[in-house]
């Protein structure tokens, strides 16, 4: 009986595993292999060498790009979480239950516009004669238009814009899974609303926060479009440096090495947060 179960189980899972092998595992092996080649003159030298890794370790431009990426993504994770937590809380506990799905939907719907066009829209909203400057001026908050577009601020703002939606969803999911009787019981036992929040709600919502933060981190650190469109070329993040290697130099080996750096960083972050990375209802 077990043998039949195994065989059939594998037959069902097989196709997906095969697809993952061919479309994911094999290309990743190719990336590792390519990172061991070298780009010299105008051709690719296929003798295996660690030159690219030596370069990664010593080239200050690459270090700077990596640092820029970590800083920008760090700011993004921080502010997205900060802004989305209260929103998720409000939706989970202040909005009547039957409307919650609709409100969540309204949070998501604006992101069904094209990502590329939305990024350009941010550029124009933040322009010197754009909506934001004009509003700030009309409210008397500033005298002259200020530079908002083409800055790190613009990149972080555009990122936070998207990831607030992601984190709101994950934190909401966590908050809704807190059994209703827990806070009630605590109140009955004399706990203040603040205590209920800090001792019960907040700790139990950590998985949602962690999942949201992790998703934000993974998606943001590999994102090429947002910094490219709204950052104005004033600083380069790692994805942009990678694309530069691909497009301007045709240096796929170095680009592959950079891609692996991205992978390793994400793996490290995963390892650190793995315990909390689940939204499953604890049985």
């Amino acid at each position: 009986m077990t043998i039949r179960r195994n065989w059939q189980g594998w037959a069902l899972v097989g196709p997906a595993l095969l697809v993952t092998l061919v479309l994911f595992a094999a290309p990743m092996v190719m990336v590792i292999l390519t990172s061991l080649h070298r780009r010299t003159g105008g051709t690719t030298d296929r003798t295996l060498s660690l030159d690219n890794y030596v370069r990664l370790a010593t080239d200050s431009t690459i270090h700077q790009a990596l640092l820029n990426s970590l800083e920008v993504v760090g700011l993004t994770v921080f502010f997205s979480t900060l802004v989305s937590y209260p929103l998720a809380y409000i939706i989970a506990f202040r909005v009547p239950v039957k409307w919650q799905a609709l409100v969540l939907l309204l949070t998501v719907v604006p992101f069904w516009t094209s990502y590329v066009v939305r990024s350009y829209s941010w550029l124009l909203v933040l322009a010197k004669n754009g909506v934001m400057n004009q509003s700030l001026q009309s409210f008397g908050l500033i005298g002259e238009p200020i530079t908002l577009a083409n800055t790190r601020f613009a990149t972080v703002l555009a990122f936070v814009h998207f990831f607030v939606m992601v984190s709101t969803l994950t934190i909401y999911a966590s908050l809704r899974q807190i059994p209703n009787n827990l806070p009630l019981a605590a109140r009955d036992l004399g706990a203040s609303p603040w205590h209920v929040f800090t001792r019960i709600t907040l700790p139990l919502s950590i998985p949602g926060v962690t999942v949201g933060a992790f998703l934000t981190f993974v998606l943001a650190i590999g994102d090429y479009i947002t910094p490219q469109i709204v950052g104005g070329g004033n600083e380069l993040l790692l994805p942009q440096l990678l694309m530069l290697q691909v497009s301007r130099r045709g240096d796929f080996p170095l680009a592959a090495a950079m891609a692996l750096v991205l992978l390793v960083i994400v793996a490290a972050v995963y390892a650190v947060s793995a315990k909390n990375l689940t939204l499953e209802r604890r049985r």
Partner: protein, 368 residues
């Protein structure tokens, strides 16, 4: 009950599948490969690797209609990118190549370009200064034809910046322009331009000059609000985000002149960099005759007029007889060209090592 749900879902999926099949069928019919030229109804295809000024439908459509051809274009930001694309492609993937004139020798020597018959072109039509047989020919064999030229210099908003001050290249580093500059992100002309300010002529640049150029470039980056490609720098100038484009020229402003006549460009006293594009047929092309016809169209009077005023950026046509209006010629400063040509330096293309070193400097300055 379950039956109904399944029926609905099955019906939906089948409908979707049918829809897919019909659409997929359509896709197959349209994307005929270029070797299928025999069919009289399906248009032939020509694949061209070009600068963005060749993507304008106004340029391509007359040729496409006259010859029942679809011209597929992919544009690139610099020769390095184009060569990378060619390397990643299979032979026969590309038919036409638009390339900076200064890059023609090395590309022709690498065997990538097909030889062209000089009899197919009327060289009397071209401005003498752009004919440059020494780079378009190898041993008397023609490989590419000049098609367009212009300048990497300074473009600016005349309403906010004094044109006379712009005649001194050093003014770019003046505190008055702090935060008001956009740098065009093509590293070769911009770095050579910076070199001019330091008194170094482009053809004399060596690796030893790079530290000085890097320092000056870094100072310029401090002054600038952004580094961007053709369109993002144009947009920044048009929206008032910046007042000057370093490395810009008529190619930045002419296309915007209609909406804002204050946008202008000038060659400073220290000189500017002159870019020039040529067009050729790729050796691996399976449509050499058609590709040659396209090249002939591009250098024809009508083609040249469309190319000179193309939607991505304008420039001077190589063909003196290009069918431009007087107004268009004014915007291009047609009558001042001989002076400009005399005061400008053609791009100097560094060898592979110097090129890599320059790109390293550029990336180091831009990474922030």
């Amino acid at each position: 009950m379950h039956k109904t749900r399944i029926t609905v879902s099955m019906a939906t999926f089948s409908a979707a599948a049918l829809l897919l099949a019909s659409c997929a069928g359509g896709t197959d019919a349209e994307s005929s490969s270029s070797s299928q030229g025999a069919s009289s109804d399906a248009p032939q295809e020509l694949n061209a690797l070009v600068w963005c000024d060749h993507t304008d439908p106004a340029l391509l459509e007359p040729f496409e209609e006259a010859n029942n051809v679809t011209v597929n274009v992919r544009d690139y930001e610099g020769t390095g990118v184009a060569l990378g694309i060619l390397e990643q492609s299979q032979p026969g993937d590309w038919d036409v190549f638009v390339i900076d004139s200064v890059d023609v020798p090395r590309v022709a020597e690498a065997g990538l370009l097909a030889p062209l018959d000089k009899a197919d072109f009327d060289f009397n039509q071209f401005f003498e200064e752009v004919q440059l047989p020494e780079i378009h020919e190898i041993d008397g064999q023609l490989y590419a034809v000049p098609e367009k030229f212009g300048y990497n210099t300074v473009a600016f908003n005349g309403a906010n910046v004094d044109a006379e001050k712009m005649r001194d290249l050093s003014f770019l580093w003046d505190p008055e322009l702090a935060g008001k500059i956009a740098i065009y992100d093509y590293y070769i002309p911009v770095m050579e331009f910076v070199g001019l300010e330091l008194g170094i002529e482009p053809q004399n640049i060596t690796v030893d000059d790079l530290p000085a150029i890097e320092a000056r470039l870094a100072e310029l980056k401090e002054q600038s609000a952004q580094v961007g490609d053709v369109v993002s720098t144009q947009t920044a100038l048009a929206t008032g985000e910046v007042d000057v484009i370093v490395g810009g020229g008529e190619f930045s402003t002419s296309v915007l002149n209609a909406e804002n006549p204050d946008l202008d460009w000038i060659l400073p006293n220290q000189g500017g960099i002159r870019w020039q594009q040529a067009i050729g047929v790729l050796a691996g092309s399976e449509n050499q005759d058609l590709a040659t016809k396209f090249v002939q169209y591009i250098v024809s009077d009508e083609g040249q007029a469309a190319l000179a005023t193309s939607s991505c950026y304008w420039g001077m046509p190589a063909n003196k007889d290009a069918a431009l209006t007087d107004e268009q010629k004014d915007i291009l400063r047609w009558d001042e060209q001989s002076g400009f040509i005399a005061n400008s330096y053609p791009y100097y293309i560094p060898d592979a090592d110097l090129d890599a070193a320059m790109l390293d400097v550029w990336t180091r300055v831009v990474v922030g």
